[in-house]
């Protein structure tokens, strides 16, 4: 006969939380920021430049991405094919990433190969060939790649939401990677010009690995060679603004078996003093599995495979967004439920049992999520991009664990905006429009996209 233990066990003694010492070096005009991971077989190096989507001007959105792809089309020293084989024979690709605040190029290799990998990284980032014919080809490929991507549910809804929140007259009111049309219209001069403007400041080299086997100064010299422009100045946050009336924007996807929901409004920037309580509130609402939204729409109603809400925060602006795919036939009731939970959370705040889950989850994830060199490099990137102190992660853990119901409820009241939220629904318009209008949640408009 099976015997189960009925009593839930108490936790053991907590192990101390520690973030490895952050090592900073000034080398050849740039900064090296490193985390020591004794015994790690792999090492990661990431060159971080203040050259993200936020540096693009209106009309050339997506140029940073096209440039990123063009960097691998050959260098001053070797052809594209030779470059690929040289780098991949060290065991790594060149992982290129563009977000609103930064551009990064990352390599991950067995630690002995790190100097050679950083040399190759610098060769592509600092001394690319940028042949006009290659740039045009890469641009066309990127435009087609976006066209294929935009055939998925989601990208069009995201673009419509972004435009509605921030307006098409500012860069961050347009998609981070541009759209198939804007990217297709980029010129060779746009791409070369972006490199000249933003890729010749030294930036920061992030390194995570066994530092007893790594010469940080040598890596810094390789990464910063020839990069002697001054570092660009970071602008102030944009005014957050926000709508006062709710609206439903329909993006037609005929025949869609699900409706893709993107419900969002503007939010403060990343360095806002309410960062901790605000993001904890978003976990209670829609971050954890047992959050209000996922519990109701998935576990009670069965409308969706999953629904989540989160803040997307960068240096100069932010937004709150709730995302889900729901079965077409239940689009309207799912929307009513979701808006209801957002409004309830704004009006009533959070409870201690819910907040306890959010607090401990995020604090614990600082340990659980930080196991690999890549994860440590990403944590270092947060320090650099947002100009945070070396003990930031240890302090963050403490502020998460000490956040009170009152603080978090005050933050949800201040920063959620259920009355002014924009409800973008990408789905079969003919099938869902009448029901959406009947919800009374807001005026229904169809987006031209």
């Amino acid at each position: 006969m099976t015997q189960l233990i009925a009593q839930r066990p108490e936790p053991g003694t907590p192990r101390p939380y520690r973030f490895p010492p952050v090592v900073r070096r000034s080398v050849a005009g740039g900064s090296v920021v490193a985390a020591d991971l004794p015994g790690a077989n792999l090492a990661v190096a990431s060159l971080l430049l203040d050259a993200g989507g936020g540096r693009e001007t209106i009309g050339v959105e997506g140029v940073a991405e096209v440039l990123a792809k063009a960097l691998e089309e050959g260098t001053a020293a070797r052809s594209a094919a030779d470059y690929a084989v040289a780098l991949e024979s060290l065991g790594t690709d060149l992982s290129l990433s563009v977000d609103w605040d930064s551009f990064s190029a990352t390599v991950q290799v067995p630690v002995a190969s790190l100097p050679a990998a950083v040399e190759l990284l610098a060769e592509a980032v600092r001394r690319p060939k940028l042949d006009p014919a290659d740039i045009e080809r890469v641009r066309d490929d990127e435009a087609e790649s976006l066209r294929l991507y935009w055939a998925n549910p989601g990208p069009r809804a995201d673009a419509v939401l972004r435009g509605d929140l921030f307006g098409a007259e500012v860069r961050h009111g347009r998609p981070l990677s541009g759209d198939p049309r804007t990217v297709g219209a980029l010129s060779v001069a746009d791409v070369v010009g972006f490199h000249r403007s933003w890729f010749m400041a030294p930036g920061t080299l992030l390194v995570a690995g066994d530092l007893s086997r790594i010469d940080l100064d040598a890596l810094g010299r390789a990464a910063f060679a020839g990069a002697d422009e001054a570092s660009p100045v970071v602008g102030d946050p944009f005014p957050a603004g926000g709508r006062t009336t709710r609206r439903i924007v329909l993006v037609d996807r005929p025949g869609s078996v699900q409706s893709t929901l993107r419900l969002g409004h503007t939010a403060p920037h990343r360095s806002h003093p309410d960062y901790v309580p605000m993001t904890l509130g978003a976990i209670v609402l829609g971050g954890a599995f047992t959050s209000r939204l996922n519990h109701l729409l998935r576990e009670v109603r069965g409308y969706t495979y999953g629904i989540r809400s989160e803040y997307g925060l960068s240096r100069r602006f932010g937004r709150f967004v709730t995302s889900a795919g729901v079965q077409t036939a239940v689009t309207a009731p799912a929307l009513v439920d979701a808006v209801g939970e957002i409004a309830r959370t704004q009006a009533e705040g959070v409870t201690e049992p819910e907040l306890a889950v959010a607090r401990d989850w995020r604090a614990g994830q600082l340990s659980v999520g930080l196991q690999t060199p890549r994860a440590y490099a990403s944590a270092l990137s947060t320090l650099v991009v947002h100009d945070l102190p070396d003990d930031y992660h240890a302090r963050l853990r403490e502020s998460l664990l000490h956040a009170t119901v009152e603080e978090v409820s005050a933050a949800t009241a201040a920063h959620l905006n259920a009355e002014g939220i924009t409800l973008v629904i990408e789905g079969d318009a003919a099938a869902i429009r009448p029901e959406l209008e009947a919800t009374g949640l807001g005026e229904v408009v169809v987006a031209a996209i």
Partner: protein
């Protein structure tokens, strides 16, 4: 360079009820991974019950005798942990990674749903999770372009009655017909301690883990006899096979697939290397010849990989999406030609070295986390009876030679054994 791919200690024991326990201690981070493999997957499903193993995986999160509905997720996340579970043709795995002081909580939760799920399983839960799974099917397979490629490839690769013929997500009809009693019986058959491997990796020692395993799992009764999975046969399978689908897709796409060898064999190691030569990275054959050279395929669309299935010859799949103006026929012919060249022309030493270097990094990335290690140890214990064999995978890749690649290519990439799946945009065929 490490001789083994697994330079951490491995300790094992077996409880009296047959449950195997594996421990791999590493104190470098204050976290612990708990991982269970149950030796049941969609290959065990009889006709009319496709998708049941996976739907059952969902039910395992919905409460058990001492754990009310929703508590499992709340307790793990609310104590700082990550958790999930997956089902594939071979097996079902459950795993959580937590701050180390919550190890005992994780073991308690896992034991309670292993030994005490059936009394807590009610119709309402089944109905709700059936709806969730149907939404998972819509979201992952039906509502995205090319999303059903895997569902279409399997029946082309494996004949009716073969355990890999049907996909793990199952059919809507079978899910609709699912009855509570079937799931209760399913749990009794397969969710028994002697059909499971428990692995704990990270900030915990073997003595402590063995004692806790005995405390929480020792009281569970061993299962009775279990229906064996059908073995399936590929004898008489005559190819090549091809299928053309007109769908709501933005461009033509071609998949080429071959049955190769079961996971865990030296030949499968060679296939993994071969797939890397063929389709991983900008230095791969597909990138150089189809994307860069002939400009037939979208550069970010080409790829090839070997699937890690252990109970029959596992597939190697290569795919590419056409550039504007390129027809599916032209792309398909070129893709087939690149695969054929592996057979006729072999692979160079430089290509082999590139692939092995990429796989070396991939391996150390996979074992950089305690959760990655725990899952691999459970895998090797479940599939091959010995978790320590995990250390042989990386040396297996390193030992592959160009002549071994030529041999497996000749053996498994024959045109007459090829399965081809083509997507054509609706308007192109209208």
């Amino acid at each position: 360079m490490s001789e083994t791919g697994y330079p951490w200690p491995i300790e094992t024991t077996r409880l009296a009820n047959g449950m195997r326990v594996v421990v791999s201690e590493d104190r470098s981070a204050p976290v612990v991974a708990v991982n269970l493999w149950y030796d049941v997957g969609s290959r065990h499903e009889p006709a009319g019950q496709t998708g049941f193993a996976h739907l059952f995986e969902h039910l395992m999160f919905e409460g058990s005798v001492n754990v009310p509905k929703t508590e499992h997720m709340r307790l793990v996340q609310g104590n700082g942990g990550s958790l999930n579970a997956t089902t594939n043709p071979d097996r079902t795995n459950y795993f959580e990674t937590l701050p180390a002081e919550h190890l005992e909580l994780a073991l308690w939760l896992e034991a309670d749903r292993m030994g005490g799920l059936v009394p807590a399983l009610v119709q309402e839960t089944l109905d709700n999770q059936r709806d969730v799974v149907k939404n998972e099917r819509r979201q992952r397979y039906e509502n995205v372009p090319y999303g059903d490629a895997w569902l279409r490839l399997l029946p082309l690769l494996y004949p009716e009655g073969h355990p890999y013929h049907h996909p793990t997500i199952g059919s809507m009809e079978d899910l609709n017909a699912a009855e509570l009693a079937t799931f209760q019986a399913f749990h009794r058959s397969y969710y028994a301690p002697d059909n499971a491997v428990l692995t704990v990796a990270g900030d915990a020692g073997p003595a402590e883990v063995f004692e806790l395993a005995e405390k929480y799992f020792g009281g569970l009764t061993a299962g009775g006899s279990r229906p064996a999975a059908p073995t399936g046969s590929l004898d008489g399978w005559a190819g090549p096979v091809s299928s053309v689908v007109a769908a709501e897709v933005p461009a033509p796409r071609v998949y080429v697939a071959h049955r190769t060898y079961p996971y865990g064999t030296p030949e499968h190691d060679a296939v993994t290397v071969l797939a890397t030569v063929l389709g991983q990275g900008r230095g791969s054959r597909l990138y150089r010849l189809l994307a860069d050279g002939a400009r037939l395929a979208q550069p970010d669309s080409v790829g090839a990989y070997g699937v890690d299935l252990a109970y029959a010859p596992a597939p190697l799949i290569a795919s590419a999406t056409a550039r504007p103006g390129v027809t599916a026929a032209r792309l398909g012919a070129a893709l087939a030609e690149v695969v054929d060249e592996l057979v006729t022309g072999g692979v160079t030493e430089q290509e082999l070295a590139r692939a092995q270097a990429l796989l070396e990094t991939e391996w150390w990335t996979a074992v950089a986390t305690v959760d990655g290690r725990a899952d691999l140890l459970s895998r090797y214990a479940t599939l091959f009876g010995d978790p320590a064999l995990v250390g042989s995978r990386l040396p297996g890749w390193r030992a592959v030679t160009t002549s071994a690649l030529a041999e497996v290519a000749r053996e498994v990439l024959r045109p007459e054994d090829r399965v081809t799946l083509v997507y054509e945009p609706m308007e192109a065929v209208a």
